[in-house]
Subunit: 305 residues, 2 copies
C-alpha cells in the first residue's frame, strides 16, 4: 500500500486497511517504520472528538465483563467502538500468554466494534509506544470511543494514564493492606474508581468505594458488571469529564510526557538489537573477565548507541 | 570512608559499614558511583557460598509471614541472614508506597538478621541493578542466606530470577483463569512453587499445586506459613538445589544476562537527566510543532545520549 492509499483507507474506515496499517505500525522493518512515522505525522492531532478511555485493575476484577456490557450499550446508541487490549507477553518465548482470543464474546459479532489485542513485548510497563500509535489510528478513523484495557498492577497503569484521556480503575470489594499499598500508587493516576461485584456484597463494596475514593475528584461508581447495574453512572461521569475539560490541552501535555517513554522504548529496542553485535560482546567479555569494571563497560557500550 | 576501610568493614561484617556502603551504592553522585564501581569490581565473584533466594507472589499471599517463620528457624540453626525487600515506589511522588516498615516484626530483633528495604524507583520491572549490587555486598559480608522479596506480578519476576540463584513463587489456593495467564509467564522462571494457606483448605491447596506444578522440575510444596507447617520440605528442596547444581556456572550466565538490564537501566537514568536540558527540549518542541516527525525527533535525541 502507498502512503496515499493508507490515508484514504483510514479516512473511509476501511477495516482491511486499518488492520494492515496496524501491522505496519507493529513492524520492526526499517522501511515500514519510516512509512509509519510519515503516516503518524499526518494524522496525529490533539483535537479528535474520539473518547479515549483506559481500563485497568487486577486480573479477575471484571474488566472484560464490564466492557462486554458497556460497549454493547454504546453500540446500541450508534457509536463505533475500538477496543485495544494489552496482552502480557512471555519474555522467554516472546509469545503471548493470554492468547489472542478475548473474552468479550458478545462484542466480536458487532460490526461497529473493532477489537485488537496487542502483545506487550519489548515495552516499558506493559503499554507500548505502539499502543499510542494504534489510538491515533483509531482516532483518525473516526471511532467514537476507544477503550484501552491493560492487565496488571503498578508500573503499567502509569504509562496507560499517559496515553488515554480518562483512566478507569476497577477494584473488587475488600482487599488487604498489601493490596492497598499498590493501589494507592495507581490511584494517583486514576480519574474514575469503579468498585465492581456489588452483587457479592453491597455494604463491603460501598465501604471500599468510600475508602479508596477519598482522594479522588470524581465520585466512585459502585457497579455490578455481571448484572449490568450502575452503567448509567459511569456514562454520566465520562460525559461530564468530556464536557468540562480542555481536552486538546490535556492531550498535548500527555503527548509531551509520553515522548520520553517513546525515546526510552526506542533506546531499549536498540540495545536489544546491538546485543548480538561482536563489538558489544567484546565489551561484555572484558567485564566478565574483570578487565573492565561495570562503570567502564557500560560507558563503552553507550558509545555504540 | 576510603575504599580500604569499606573493604575491611565488609569483610568484618561491620553493620555500620554495611549500611553506609549500601547508601553509597544507592547514591546518584558521580564520585560515589565511581567508588561503588571500584568496590564492586573487587568483591564481585560467582562462587560465594551464600544462598541467594528470590521470593515472589501477588500481594497478600503470605510472603512476609513465611519469611518471618522460615528465617527464624534458619537463625536458630546459627545462620546469618540478609533480607532485601523491594518496595514499589510511586512515580509521581518518588516516595515509597508501602513505607519502610517491614511486616517481619519477629525478625527485626535478631542480631543475625539484616533487613534492608530498597525502593524500586527508576528501575526496570521493580528489580534494580542496585538490588543486584546489594546482593554482592551481602555475599562478600559472608551472610549464609540472602532473601530478595519482590511484590508484584509479571515483569518484575523475570528480572528477579536473573539476580537470585533460586526463585520461590508463592500462590494461594485457587485462582481464576485470568490469574493463571500471568502466573504461567512467571512459572517459566520459577524454581520452586509454594502453595501457601493450606490451613484455609487442604484439598484446594493440593489441587493448585498439582495444576501449576506440572511444568516444573521440582515438586511443589504445600505449606501453611501461619502455622509454620511444611517448612522442612521447602528447606529440603533448597538444600537439594545447592547440592546438585553447578552454582558458579549458573551465576556467571545470570550475571551475563543481567549486564544488559544494567545497560538499559543506565540509559534510562541518563535520559531522565537529559530531559531537563535545553538541547533536548528544542527537539521535543520541534516534534510537538510538527516540524519533525517522531522518527526524526528520536534520532536527534539519540545523538545526545
Amino acid at each position: 500500500m502507498t502512503e496515499q492509499e493508507i490515508l484514504e483507507g483510514i479516512k473511509n474506515q476501511n477495516p482491511q486497511v486499518l488492520a494492515k496499517t496496524m501491522s505496519l505500525f507493529e513492524s520492526q522493518k526499517d522501511s515500514d517504520k519510516k512509512l509509519a512515522a510519515k503516516i503518524l505525522h499526518q494524522i496525529e492531532k490533539d483535537d479528535y472528538p474520539t473518547r479515549v478511555l483506559g481500563i485497568t485493575g487486577t486480573p479477575g476484577v471484571g474488566k472484560s465483563t464490564f466492557l462486554n456490557g458497556f460497549v454493547d450499550s454504546l453500540v446500541q446508541r450508534g457509536n463505533k467502538v475500538a477496543i485495544l487490549t494489552i496482552d502480557p507477553s512471555s519474555e522467554k518465548t516472546g509469545g503471548s500468554i493470554l492468547g489472542d482470543k478475548t473474552r468479550m464474546t458478545d462484542l466480536i459479532k458487532h460490526e461497529n466494534v473493532f477489537i485488537r489485542p496487542s502483545a506487550s513485548r519489548a515495552m516499558l510497563g506493559g503499554v507500548s509506544a505502539n499502543t499510542r500509535d494504534l489510538i491515533t489510528l483509531c482516532e483518525a478513523a473516526s471511532f467514537d470511543y476507544i477503550f484501552v484495557e491493560s492487565v496488571g498492577i503498578g508500573q503499567s497503569e502509569v504509562q496507560l494514564a499517559k496515553i488515554v484521556d480518562f483512566l478507569l480503575l476497577f477494584l473488587a470489594p475488600g482487599g488487604g493492606d498489601d493490596l492497598q499499598g499498590i493501589k494507592k500508587g495507581v490511584l494517583e493516576f486514576t480519574d474514575l474508581l469503579i468498585v465492581n461485584k456489588k452483587d457479592l456484597g453491597k455494604t463491603l463494596a460501598l465501604q471500599t468505594a468510600s475508602l479508596y475514593g477519598q482522594s479522588l475528584e470524581n465520585e466512585p461508581c459502585v457497579i455490578s458488571a455481571l448484572e449490568k447495574e450502575g452503567f448509567e453512572k459511569v456514562q454520566q461521569q465520562i460525559d461530564s469529564f468530556y464536557e468540562k475539560e480542555d481536552l486538546a490541552k490535556i492531550r498535548f501535555e500527555k503527548r509531551k510526557d509520553f515522548f520520553w517513554t517513546r525515546v526510552e522504548s526506542d533506546v531499549i529496542q536498540l540495545i536489544h538489537k546491538l546485543k548480538a553485535s561482536d563489538k558489544l560482546n567484546k565489551v561484555l567479555e572484558k567485564y566478565l573477565a574483570k578487565k573492565y569494571d561495570l562503570r567502564k563497560a557500560i560507558r563503552k557500550i553507550l558509545k555504540f548507541i
